[in-house]
Symmetry: C2
Subunit: 461 residues, 2 copies
C-alpha cells in the first residue's frame, strides 16, 4: 500500500479557526479538549470491551425476553462500575413477542419442493400449522391495487421491491422500501390474501432473512408475515416466472404474550454549573432475537456509556448534566423512549438536547440534527472542530426513534451519523455479530459523540 496522508483537514481547520481573536482562543481550547477526548478513546477506550461483554454474555435481547432482563442488569452493573454519579432504572411495560420454533417454508411445483430460509417479521401472528397458498408477486402498491380480487384472494402477496442501491445514504433506501415490511400484512389482508412474504430490507445479495417490526390494523384480519432473504426472493421470483401456479408452504409458531415489566437504564454525570439542565445520550438496549444485536444497537449502548466515561476520565467535567440512557424496546414499540419523555415531563426536568446512536458502530461522519434554524446553525458552527476527525458533516437530519418523544421538550434531537454503506447487509439478521464491529471505528464514534456533548454542555443551545 501507499502511505496515506490527507492534508485537507488541517488546512480547512486553520482557515476556519481564523475569525476573531477571542473566538480563536475558545476554539483552540475546545480543539485541545476534543483532541484529549479522542486520545483517551483511542488509547484506552472501553466501548469495544463492553460490547464484547454485552454480545457474548447476553446476546440477542428482544423486549420481554429473559435476555432483555439480563441486559438491564448488565447495563446497570456496568454503569455503576464506571462510577457515574447516579445510576437508576425506569420501569416500563413492554410487548413480549416470541418467535417460537424455527420457521419453515418451501415452494412446491408438482412433487418438486424448494426450501426457503425465512423468518417471521416481528409481531407477526403464527400460521397455526402449515399455511399453503399460491403466490402473487408485486413490486409496487399500485400494482397490487390494480390486481383483480380473484388474482390475490387466498394467496400470499410477495412484496419484492428491492432497496434502491443508487441512494448514497443506505438509510434512505431502507426508509424507501420499508413500507412493504411495515404495511405488507395489512394491505395483503385487505385484499383477502392469506399472508405476506417480504423481500428482506438489505442491499446485499445473501441468504440471511432480515426481520424487523410490522404492523396490523385492528379493522382487518391479521395474516402472517415472513421475510425472505434477498437471494431467496430472487429465487422465488424466478420460480414464479416459470411456474405462476406454484404452492408456497409457510410454518411459523410465533406469538404475542402478555406485556412484561422492563426498564430503561440511566446513568448520570452531574453538571458542574447547571446540574438541572440535562443532555441525554443513548441507544437502545433491546435487539432482535436472531443475532447478538451488535451494530443494532449494542454499539449505541456502549458508545453512550463511553461518552460519560470519556468526560470523566479526561477531567472535562460537563457544565450541564449528561445522562446515558439505555432505552428499552426501540425495535417493537418505543415504550422506553415514550416512558423517558413522559417521566421527564412529569418531573418538569429541563432538557437541553438529546442524542442517539442507532445507525451502527462504523467510522463517524457527523450528526443529523432536528432543531430550529438558529440552534442548528449554532451546532454547525462547531463543525470545524470535527474536521481533523473527518466527522464534520452536521446538517438537518433525523435524531432517533428513542429520543423522538422528547420533541418539544428539547432544543435539539441529534442523530449520530457514521459510515452506513455496510450497515444494512447485517441489520436485523443472524449476521449482526460482534466480529462485524471494528474497535477503532467504534471508539472513534464514542469520541465524536462525547466531543459534541462536551460542547453543548459548555455552551448550551
Amino acid at each position: 500500500m501507499r502511505f496515506l496522508s490527507r492534508g485537507v483537514a488541517a488546512v480547512a481547520l486553520a482557515a476556519l479557526l481564523a475569525p476573531a481573536a477571542q473566538a480563536q482562543s475558545a476554539s483552540k481550547i475546545d480543539s485541545l479538549a476534543i483532541r484529549t477526548i479522542y486520545d483517551e478513546a483511542l488509547l484506552r477506550g472501553q466501548s469495544y470491551e463492553n460490547l464484547r461483554q454485552l454480545t457474548s454474555q447476553v446476546g440477542g435481547r428482544l423486549s420481554g425476553s429473559p435476555e432483555a432482563q439480563k441486559a438491564v442488569e448488565w447495563g446497570k452493573a456496568a454503569m455503576e462500575k464506571a462510577g457515574f454519579d447516579r445510576v437508576y432504572l425506569q420501569e416500563v411495560m413492554v410487548p413480549h413477542w416470541v418467535r417460537g420454533a424455527k420457521e419453515k417454508a418451501e415452494a412446491k411445483v408438482g412433487s418438486k419442493a424448494t426450501k426457503f430460509n425465512v423468518c417471521a417479521l416481528g409481531g407477526s401472528v403464527a400460521t397455526k400449522g402449515k399455511l399453503k397458498a399460491g403466490v402473487v408477486e408485486v413490486t409496487s402498491w399500485d400494482q397490487l391495487a390494480a390486481m383483480p380480487d380473484n388474482q390475490v384472494k387466498g394467496k400470499f402477496i410477495f412484496y419484492n421491491r428491492p432497496m434502491n442501491p443508487t441512494f448514497i445514504e443506505t438509510g434512505r433506501a431502507y426508509g424507501d422500501a420499508g413500507d412493504q415490511r411495515r404495511r405488507g400484512a395489512i394491505e395483503a389482508a385487505k385484499r383477502g390474501a392469506v399472508g405476506a412474504l417480504v423481500r428482506s430490507l438489505s442491499l446485499a445479495h445473501d441468504d440471511y432473512p432480515h426481520t424487523g417490526t410490522m404492523s396490523y390494523d385492528d379493522k382487518v384480519n391479521k395474516v402472517p408475515a415472513a421475510a425472505l432473504s434477498t437471494n431467496g426472493a430472487d429465487q422465488l421470483s424466478q420460480l414464479l416466472k416459470a411456474n405462476p401456479t406454484l404452492t408456497f408452504e409457510l410454518e411459523m409458531a410465533c406469538q404475542q404474550l402478555p406485556e412484561v415489566k422492563s426498564y430503561n437504564v440511566v446513568g448520570e454525570l452531574k453538571g458542574s454549573k447547571y446540574p438541572d439542565e440535562i443532555i441525554s445520550v443513548g441507544g437502545h438496549l433491546d435487539s432482535w432475537d436472531l443475532a447478538q444485536g451488535a451494530h443494532d444497537d449494542g454499539t449505541g449502548i456502549v458508545q453512550s456509556m463511553e461518552v460519560l466515561r470519556l468526560l470523566k476520565a479526561t477531567g472535562l467535567r460537563p457544565e450541564r448534566t449528561v445522562r446515558a440512557v439505555f432505552f428499552m424496546n426501540e425495535e417493537n414499540g418505543t415504550r422506553g423512549g415514550l416512558k423517558y419523555a413522559e417521566l421527564a415531563k412529569a418531573a418538569n426536568e429541563k432538557h437541553v438536547a438529546a442524542m442517539e446512536s442507532d445507525g451502527g458502530g462504523f467510522t463517524p461522519r457527523g450528526f443529523g440534527v432536528e432543531a430550529d434554524p438558529a440552534t442548528l446553525a449554532k451546532i454547525q458552527s462547531w463543525a470545524p472542530l470535527f474536521v481533523p476527525y473527518h466527522s464534520e458533516e452536521i446538517g438537518p437530519g433525523h435524531g432517533g426513534t428513542d429520543i423522538g418523544p422528547l420533541k418539544g421538550q428539547v432544543k435539539a434531537l441529534i442523530g449520530y451519523d457514521c459510515d452506513d454503506q455496510r450497515y444494512f447487509d447485517i441489520h436485523h439478521t443472524a449476521a449482526d455479530t460482534f466480529d462485524k464491529v471494528n474497535r477503532r471505528e467504534l471508539e472513534m464514534g464514542g469520541a465524536s459523540m462525547a466531543a459534541l456533548i462536551y460542547l453543548i454542555s459548555k455552551y448550551g443551545l
Copy 2:
C-alpha cells in the same frame, strides 16, 4: 435502527453550484454525468465480481511467483473481455523472493517453551537451521543507540514500538512506525545482533503476523528479520520482563531467487479529442503471499479496470486517453512503476495525470494530490461535485508508490483515499481476504475514481 437522512450534502451542493450561470450549467452537466457513473457502478458494477475471480482463481501473487504470472494472464484476459480499445503487456524484470517452509519460533525459559506465530519479512535471508539467541527489546532508535555493545551483540533486537493509535489517519501511523520494519535488520546488524524481530504494523490486537518489505545495506551483514503479531509482541515483552535472559529460537527458510520476467498489464480507452494525452489509473497486481491480496491491492486493480468500463458503459467517452495499469511488483521493488515511467518517457508520451488506488477498497472519502498549487486548486474546484457522495476531501497528499516514478512527467499524481480505519488490521496478513471487502464500498470507490478521471479527461489540467 433509526432512519438516517443527511440533508447537508444537498444543501452544500446547491450553495456551491451558485456562482455564475455558465459555470452553473457546466456544473449541472458534470453533476449529471457523475450521477450516471455512480448509478452504473451501484446497479451493474463489475469490480466485486472481478475481485472474486482474482482472489479465488489466483489468490496471493508475489512477484516472480507462478501466481503472479497467472494474475498477469487473468488481467489481460479480463481487460480484453471488457472490450477496451487496446490491451497490452509491458515486460519488466522483477525480484523473486520465496518464503519457503512455514516459519517457526519459540521462546525458551529453562525447559519451558512458548511458541510464537511469526512470518519472515519480505526479502529476509533465511536462518539456516535454527537460530538461537537472547532478545533485547527496544521501542526507539535512541534506546538502541544508547545500549552498550555487549548488551546487543549476538542477540535478537526486538523492535516493539506500536503504531500510534491516536493518529486519525492510520496511514500516518503506518508510516511513522514503519522504520522498524524497513531498517530493523540493518540497524541490528550494525550493532552485531543476529536478527531482528519486529512488532507487526497493525492497530489491531490479534495473532496475525504482518509481513512487508525490509531492506539490507550492502555494507553490513544480512541478518534474518521476522514479524511477530501484535499479541505475540505483547507476550514476548511480558516474558522478557520476567525472564530477561530467555532464549529465542527462529527458523526461516526464505530465499532470494534469480530475477524473473514479468509484466505490467495495460488497457486503454482512446480519447475522443486528445488521444495523445494520457491519464493513467492503476493499482498493483502483485500482493504478499500470506493471503489473497484482496484489499492490498486487488481492490485497486478491479477499480482501475472499472473506471474504464464505467466510462464506456455510460457513454461518457473520455476526451483524453485513459489507461488502466496493473503495475507489477509494488510490494518489493516498484519495478513495474519504474518501467511504466521509463517507457512513457522513452516514447515521449504526454501524460496529464496518474491516479492510484492502493489504500484498500473501503468507502470513498476523496483524493490526495501531489501537484503544483494551481493544479491542486483546479482539482479542488471540483470538490462540490463529490459532496453528494461524501467523497469531497481533496487536498495535498501522497499519490502512490507505482505512479511515483511519473513525477515530473505528469501535472498531478493522485491517490484515491477511502476510509482507512480498519485497513491495517488486515494489511499484509493472512486475513486480507475477499470476505473483508464490501461490495457497495468497493463499487462506490470505482465510481468516485471514474468521476475524477472523467473531469480531468474533459477539462485537462
